[in-house]
Symmetry: D2
Subunit: 340 residues, 4 copies
């Protein structure tokens, strides 16, 4: 940590800063640079993070030299994390395809979709039972009953499942019924919920918040990791943009950025990102070529009758074609050379 | 609701749409416009909201003609809502000033700040006990102990209190200890929490989400109102912007927009919006002149030692000056004419 | 066009609207829908665009039913435009690779880079001579001298060229020296410049503005097309985002959106979008898989010595690998099925 | 400037950096901080700006210690700039009100509006003759004829004028006919135009770009200042936001930020920012209370017939009320104390 002193810093100001540094158990050296005096601080600088040094008289600015997310960083762990979701490995070089309806609606439609997803060659089944909806008057999901249906179709098809949890009071029940707990974009900063899924030790799919920087997203992952749960997969699903042409603004460059910063795997959700069935295959292929560890795609046998997000669900035939394209692409791009 | 048919709509396509409309108990009339055929639908169109008509074959687009937030809208209630917070009226023409620390840190500092806030002439005392923090390693608040300290200082100073609740499991305890429950920006779309504070019937201060449109914000308010709790106050605190010059991007035009659309009162939080103590007074005065129902400002007797958001807390003397300015401004601007 | 009348619309209000519609030579029919009265207007509705009907007493809203960009729209022209740039075809199914330095710096370095780009297998050579720079103290390009160097290296390597024009007074000279005129992101709404390049009849590469919606971008293209110049290629290069992790926020979903709306070809510039050499290959591959008509990539033999944008230029070896990857990917993805 | 060396920096890497620093005529000192080695560089560091040190092997990052805009900065000039526009002083403590139509449409309407603006008590008359319009099919202004009408009404009313220039070829003619040249939001980064108005020595009103940070805006001002033209006034007019509730997102906190960083005056344009006549007075009052040096407001005697931006123009009576409110507010807020 570098503390840049102001040009009008008094001896008293400086003494106060130095005392705080030493009280935190850190060591320091005075430096001269660019006509300014700096204090270079070493040691347990995280203890100083709560001391608002930059607000103190005599301090011009404070420059951090290390990442704030420790457990999630590549510096902490160089080899990629591989998360085991009911036997399916996410991360580490493979390409995982998750398919399924936005929401679990009823047994028959879920079974039909589940079988279609399985037969298309996907790896995991998605389906929401607790649905966060912008309007209180929209369909909010079947809750526990929905999870039980998901469990049943999972057993019939052999596909492990992903489903969203929105309330810390539901985590325990969800853990018993789904293979991977999804934290949705609206709850990325619901820290009480993150702590609860962290404690559960269950695989977690952490979607990026609508206005979250990648650093904030990794800090949200850090909440889960810090509870001793290393089974975290990230999922880029678009951020808030200014152009109504798409539902959200898919930030695909998050894939290489995340790859450079963390060992955690990353999926891409082109369905929520674009919000238009016509744009989903293009963005799914792009995600694969960008180097993502997989995609999560909405599939519905009767999109026109879907209870939520109907505009973005692929028909089974389109999904089957897409899976085929992606398997081919993954083969080609996985062998692409890293930049020299 | 207007259903615009596509140019290639077949008789079968059209029959399917008409059947859905009639099944929902709505009536319809065919129209010709701009070379296209439209169906004008009347009646309980909200029943059609879950039917993804725009995805159906033969449908070009669907145009809604009414607001999605019903209880919050000015059409539903013309006269302004006035929320009673421990005897202090928010909304209806007055100007309410909330002051206090970002977080409750300890008894002595809270008492000192509370007394300063009271003596400056503020109306309500703020102080966080459950703090959502971006990093899991930051100070996250004193929890229940913090709320008890807040209750105590409230009784000593006579100032009713506002404090954030982040977990549905804490709502009941918070209701007993604070006069107004704050829903923070990160939890604006935590719908389980909104339902819980809705059920409590307690006054709610609903901050705008970092990437929320004003419509989404009013729909979040609708979640609380739909539980039978009419005591909702909105709070603009800045949205995510692209310029690091300020912590967030204060959207002051939300004040007249909200005023035009809803009967709910609106406060402005210039402290979290700007993140810099030097910009707070300017934006607080602007909020008053814009017609807000009040401001919420961070105050600390020793900002340099504050455990969170130290850069944005005013000293008691600066806060006292600001309160004086605001009382004068409120007098001048409250008598300003509405636009002719 | 649909004109929705307000519930308090008087006969006089309505008469005024009707008169304006008829004065514009349009026809109209009254409709009843959702308890409201609407006027469906047909004919030359563009003549009404300048009449601010929605502001008139008695009018609730005005709904447009057709695109504002006519020449650029797919409805106007179904088959894809193919732009011939010095013999290289852009659009229509192929995949074009543009490489070169950010700025033309001197003859030797440009020749070295040009030869490397040629030998890597690229199709076009880029190089800026008029550089818009955020700071007036930065290197702003060699101007006409730079263009002459570019012409020379183009003749030596056989690669046609792309170079930016920033001032309407330079268009004529540029036309004589480069094969395709680039309009940069900062000048997308410099309409005097667009008109001038439109008049030139020369191929134009139109970059998306930093805060431009896709509709605004297509309207900028319409400025060029409306001058009788059909040789327009679009280039997505990232929009302004809130996350400092990348220089801009690459909106790759613009590729399928543009494809759906217009017949014009689209390139992607991953260098300016990400601003980091490490992220360029990943995003170039993603652009190819997304279905773009090509990419434009910065290449430099000595990035560390480049006079601008040094952090984002690939070394020749990395560029050679990338070209090879892209040619393979293009083969695979060009045969991918369209969505069923 | 601080150069932070990477942990794997070799002696050769370091030597290369040191050589570049010395070649630029700067001096340096080695420092140890946070377990890293840094080089603190003093002297003419701007000469190093074009050397991409951060891309060099062995360099982790480069930290600048001074502002990039020199002439615009408060450090360069402490006392506020006052710009004389035809005898009206902008900046330095007064509050200037600019009113007028979006576009000059014809002599009669301009005269009527000009007289109304004068009689309401405004200081300057605005009116566009060169209109940048998103669509090539919209009314683009009367050009030189419009400027002559503006000059005529200016002489009749005694109000000095502001009008936009969009093309470097028009600057000379504009200088002869208007008192202040406006650079619109779309041309903030049209550097050839900035250089031209800089050379003219005429007062310039520089609007903020739709996606410009405040730093980029001040660098655009620096382009004008660097030509030896100190007569620059800034104008905040909203940035691109994600909420369609307002036309743009007015960033009023730019007022205190700009005040802290530069000596240049700043106006606010609530008309283009909000795009709705109903929100303009509220935001104009907020701008005054925030400490702006003035506002620029669109006024039209027959908004319903205006050829552009009709939805945001105030009627003369509303403008008269607003001017009265603002004069009162300015008196109150100009005496408000600065933050202690």
């Amino acid at each position: 940590m570098l503390i840049v002193l102001a040009s009008d810093c008094t001896p008293g100001d400086r003494q106060r800063v130095v005392a705080a540094v030493e009280e935190a158990g850190c060591t320091w050296t005075p430096l001269q640079a660019g006509g300014r005096t700096l204090l270079a601080v070493s040691g347990a600088v995280e203890r100083l993070r709560e001391v608002p040094l930059r607000r103190w008289p005599g301090v011009k600015k404070v420059i951090a030299l290390s990442d704030a997310y420790m457990l999630a960083s590549r510096e902490h762990q160089a080899e990629p994390t591989v998360v085991n979701v009911g036997g399916v490995k996410v991360g580490g070089g493979g390409f995982v395809i998750v398919g399924g309806p936005c929401a679990v609606e009823d047994e028959a439609s879920l079974r039909a979709i589940g079988e279609a997803v399985k037969s298309a060659g996907a790896d995991l089944l998605r389906g929401g039972a607790y649905k966060p909806r912008t309007s209180p008057y929209a369909f909010r999901g079947l809750g526990l009953e929905g999870l039980k249906l998901l469990r049943q179709v999972s057993q019939e098809t052999g596909l492990p499942t992903v489903s969203e949890v929105t309330d810390p009071r539901h985590v325990e029940a969800c853990v018993g019924l789904v293979d991977m707990l999804q934290i949705g974009t609206r709850n990325m900063s619901n820290f009480d919920l993150l702590v609860e899924v962290g404690k559960s030790g269950h695989p977690v799919l952490l979607k990026r918040g609508q206005a979250a920087t990648i650093s904030e997203w990794l800090l949200a992952a850090e909440y889960v990791l810090a509870q001793g749960n290393p089974h975290v997969v990230l999922c880029e699903r678009g951020v808030r943009g200014f152009d109504p042409a798409t539902r959200n603004l898919l930030d695909l460059s998050a894939v290489p950025v995340v790859r450079a910063r963390t060992h955690l795997p990353i999926l891409v959700d082109p369905s929520h990102a674009t919000g238009h069935v016509g744009y989903v295959p293009s963005m799914a292929r792009a995600a694969c070529a960008a180097g993502a560890d997989g995609v999560m795609v909405e599939v519905h046998t009767h999109p026109a009758a879907a209870l939520c997000d109907a505009e973005q669900a692929l028909l089974p035939e389109a999904f089957t074609d897409l899976v085929e394209d992606l398997r081919l692409l993954a083969k080609v791009t996985r062998s692409a050379r890293p930049v020299r």
